[in-house]
Symmetry: C2
Subunit: 252 residues, 2 copies
DNA sequence: ACGTATTTGTTCGTATGTATT
DNA sequence: CAATACATACGAACAAATACG
């Protein structure tokens, strides 16, 4: 690490730590304050200033007496509407199960383009009807490059989550992504699967995830709009957003 | 402030600062580091540790050489889907204008109940068709307790934002609130106003805001779903959510 | 079960840099 | 230019929680 007189010392340390983290360098334990002081030849104060940022970002967790640990970024990403949707269902004690509608190898020009991959790319494709306590609440389609996801063909996805298996079978770690929500009307097949009428609007959530090795996932989830809402709450400028069960009282 | 040996010093300072802020004590300038040191008999480091938290929460902004200032919490709250919707329109250089459809004093049992107010409560009620460069994109209804919002009857709301006027005419400061999004189909009148068909789904955003003196606002906004989407993006676990113009490329 | 070493958290002191008034 | 105010950076010590022989 080369010292630059213009940018603060702690920031230079931070940038270097980020670089090393992105190489997966601290998977088995993050350096202690003392080690950082020695390695970067800075005071403890400066080292901690750098580390503080990783901490507030949630990338790093520190325990008094134990040490610092890189937060293994869940592929599910503890942010984003979909995560909160699936979690809120389990938080409320419901059992999630899925009907596997399709599971096969496909080529999809549009998906490949969206993910910036070659058109010939072969995808692991999984289409499921998701149920909470038996009641259907979403239709879920997911495309994963076969190069990464090939081992998943062996898994039974009625009970298992895709992310769990990905984490178990690959070393892919997410670095960024996004989800987009829009309102829509269900197709006839979606009506049948979800058990709703043609005029019952739904959420369509699109999701894209990228790892440090490249694009990982393209996903489209159609969620019953009569059963769920997306809520943002705040208190003194701190805000959290999540899907939740639709409140019974309706206005409009 | 009484010192307690169990909780950290900086936290005790922080709590006291919060208490004083909630009384509106620092509206004309926040204490300097030196003043904090003297007032609380702590080191500069400790004082800064307390202030740091206010800073990361966005409650306080500090300027090198100038001083620290309490961030006047905008009524609009720089969080939440609606804020991002209206802002994104202006960010893209479009001009926002509104047709005032209704502006009158009303009683509304359901709204009053939602806000926890007496049924007899009289509301300032405003209903507008919002346009971006002339094109309608949302129908907006807002209820405000007349006790607070009475002065607003004098304002022309074709060009002016409700929040701006509220901040100008009242001392109400928001402490918390929420927004809820659900998909819906437009009513016949909404179809006419927004210029969309009966099968064109919309977002319905409900918003509730509370000040330190009590409930302030109940709001329902119907947004064209063909023109806007709600997006959450993240990078290394930091996430931001906002409404934005609908991308042209559509899948499904 | 105990004591010691380790690691992070808190708190003090001090000095210098940089931007604003 | 001088004074002010926040930012950065060094050093030092003790507290609190944990890990380990």
């Amino acid at each position: 690490m080369r010292r630059n007189p213009k940018t603060p010392l702690w920031e230079q340390v931070l940038t270097d730590l980020r670089r090393r983290m992105s190489r997966g360098e601290f998977t088995s334990g993050f350096p202690t304050d003392r080690e950082l002081m020695q390695r970067y030849k800075v005071s403890r104060h400066t080292a901690r200033e750098a580390v503080r940022h990783l901490q507030t970002e949630g990338v790093l967790t520190r325990y008094k007496g134990r040490g610092s640990f890189v937060q293994p970024l869940s592929l599910e990403q503890r942010v984003g509407p979909l995560y909160s949707l699936f979690r809120s269902i389990e938080d409320q004690g419901h059992v999630q199960r899925s009907d596997v509608l399709e599971l096969r190898s496909v080529r999809d020009r549009e998906v490949a383009e969206q993910m910036g991959l070659a058109i010939a790319t072969k995808f692991f494709f999984l289409r499921r009807l998701r149920r909470a306590d038996g009641t259907p609440f979403a239709v879920d389609e997911i495309w994963l490059p076969e190069k990464i996801a090939a081992p998943l063909y062996e898994v039974n996805f009625e009970y298992t989550a895709v992310y769990t298996e990905l984490e178990r079978l690959t070393d892919a770690r997410p670095v960024r992504g996004w989800e987009r929500i829009r309102p829509a009307l269900p197709s006839t097949e979606e009506q049948r699967l979800l058990g709703i009428g043609p005029r019952q609007p739904v959420f369509v959530v699109s999701r894209y995830t990228e790892t440090h090795r490249g694009p990982l996932e393209w996903r489209t989830t159609v969620v019953r709009g009569d059963a769920y809402t997306f809520t943002t709450t705040w208190s003194n400028s701190k805000a959290t957003s999540e899907f939740g069960v639709r409140p019974t009282k309706k206005r409009r």
